[in-house]
Structures are given as structure tokens and as C-alpha cells.
Amino acid sequence: MTARATPSRFLKSVLQNGVGRYVCQLKRVSIIFSKNAQSSLGVRDFIEEGVVDYAKKNPGTVVYVSPQSCRIPKIVAEYLNGNVREEIITSKTSPQISELLTKLTDQSGLDIIRIRKPFYTNNPSIQGQWHPFTNRPLSIGPIRPQKESAE
């Protein structure tokens, strides 16, 4: 896994999200599970207890619960910028699934790849960035209008 070969991005927030109001970037959560399999036991418990509370807490996110006959239960999270994230929840307990859901809610939909720097500024320099003439005294004095030519 070389840095050049793997994609990377700079730290960014989606449209300066927290500065004004905060918009939850999670658009849609689909919980795919099976009604009778052993692997979806935790999911079924979570759907009994925690799903309605979660949906009420996050009014901006749509929660779809779809029981299908599937071998592996999944959570498919879709974000406002179009990214889709699938998490496999086989043999997870109900509190673990709610933790996972809070993690997905807090994420913005940006790609999870290497972040080049852990900071980002629009104004990196306040006193003016250094250039070779910052600490040099001026070679000419202050420029004044030429009085000699008028006289």
C-alpha cells in the first residue's frame, strides 16, 4: 500500500457543514436481515428495541427495514453526496449495532481514504507569508512627488 498508488484526499467538510447549522449527511439507512437465520439475531433484537428511537432521534434520515431471505445481514447507508456504504452485521449484538449506526450517522459521506493533512485552513498566514524581501530594509526611501521638476 504505497501512498502514490492508493487514493488520498485533503481534510474537508461537506459545504462547511458545522459552521452554520448542522445537517446530518446520512440520507438513507436500509437494514437488510433475515427473519429466521441465526446471524440476524442481534439485528432482530435491535429492530425490536432500538430502531424506532434511532429513527425519531434522526428525523433527517430515512430508515428502511427489509426482511429478506439472505445469508448475511447488512446495513446499507447512503449519504447526501451519493456515496453508499455497506456494513455487514452478522452475529453482532443489539448495542453493537446501535454503536455502528451512531458511527455511520456522525460520518460525512466523504471517502474513507488517507487524509493528507489533519488540518485545513483558508488563511494559512495572518502576518503575511515570508518572501525574500520581508526582512530586508527598503533600498529606496519613501516615494514622494518630485518637487524639483516643478521648481
Binding site: 500500500m1 504505497t2 501512498a3 502514490r4 498508488a5 502576518q127 507569508q129 520581508t134 526582512n135
Partner: protein, 149 residues
């Protein structure tokens, strides 16, 4: 007569060779020459690249530190000071700024860096007075370090 042994000679090989090859070649796509296309050459090149990446994780820390030190030395020489004097006097005045931050200040905030050099120069002078002047007058403001608890 029916030939039955022919069908016994057919082997069914693994179905995934293409994808395994592509997994390796995706790490070689930015290489130069045939190493980015041919699997046999790419295997060796990718392995070397990974080894270099592992080794250079340690080297990067060293190189960044030398870069910061070079920058701080250059900036302090503009103000008539030298790097070891600057850092030693900053440390003695309990200014706990690491080299990364000081080099960033030297680049983006030149006036703050100037004030840091002045502070270090003043502390140096106080150190000289304390060493040579028999300590009759109080050594000075910057050498009295207040420990906040």
C-alpha cells in the same frame, strides 16, 4: 472404439487469475515501462515499492525534522542568530514549541518569529550577565521561570 481418456486429461484451473493479477497490477499502474503492464516484472517492482514504503516510514520522520531544522536555521540567521542558540534559549525560557511549529511560524508568521528571536537573544544576554557579572543584580525577567500549578 470410443476414446474415453481424452476427457480425463482436461483440467479445470482456478477461475480467479484475472482478478488476482489485477489486484497486484493496480499497485503498479503509476510505474514506468513494462513494470506497469507485465505481471512478472510488476511482482518484483511492487514488492520493492512496499519494502521502500515500510522503510521510509521511519525515514520520513527524520527527514521532516531535518527540514524543519534547516528552515529554522535559515530564518534565524536572517535575524542574526544561530539555530542552536535560538533553540537552547527558547528551551531555557520554557517556551515549549517544537521544531515543526517554529518552522511554520517562520514561514507564515515572520513577525512572531522575529519576536521569538528577540526573546532568545534577551535570555542569552541574561545568561551571560548571570555567568560573568557575579549575580548581584537580579538576573532578569526571562530567566525567572514561573511554574504554574
Amino acid at each position: 472404439m470410443v476414446f474415453l481418456t481424452l476427457s480425463c486429461w482436461i483440467r479445470s484451473r482456478g477461475p480467479d487469475r484475472y482478478w488476482k493479477v489485477q489486484e497486484l497490477l493496480k499497485h503498479a499502474r503509476h510505474f514506468r515501462g513494462r513494470k506497469n503492464r507485465c505481471y512478472k516484472l510488476a511482482v518484483r517492482a511492487v514488492r520493492r515499492a512496499f519494502v521502500y514504503a515500510t522503510k521510509s516510514r521511519r525515514l520520513k520522520k527524520r527527514n521532516m525534522r531535518t527540514l524543519w531544522i534547516t528552515r529554522i536555521a535559515a530564518a534565524s540567521r536572517e535575524h542574526g542568530m544561530k539555530y542552536p542558540i535560538l533553540m537552547h534559549n527558547l528551551m531555557k525560557s520554557s517556551v515549549q514549541l517544537n521544531r515543526r511549529v517554529v518552522s511554520e511560524l517562520a514561514v507564515t508568521e515572520p513577525r512572531t518569529f522575529l519576536s521569538l528571536t528577540k526573546l532568545a537573544k534577551a535570555r542569552q544576554q541574561e545568561g551571560f550577565c548571570a555567568a560573568l557579572g557575579d549575580g548581584k543584580e537580579p538576573p532578569g525577567v526571562f530567566s525567572r521561570v514561573v511554574l504554574l500549578q
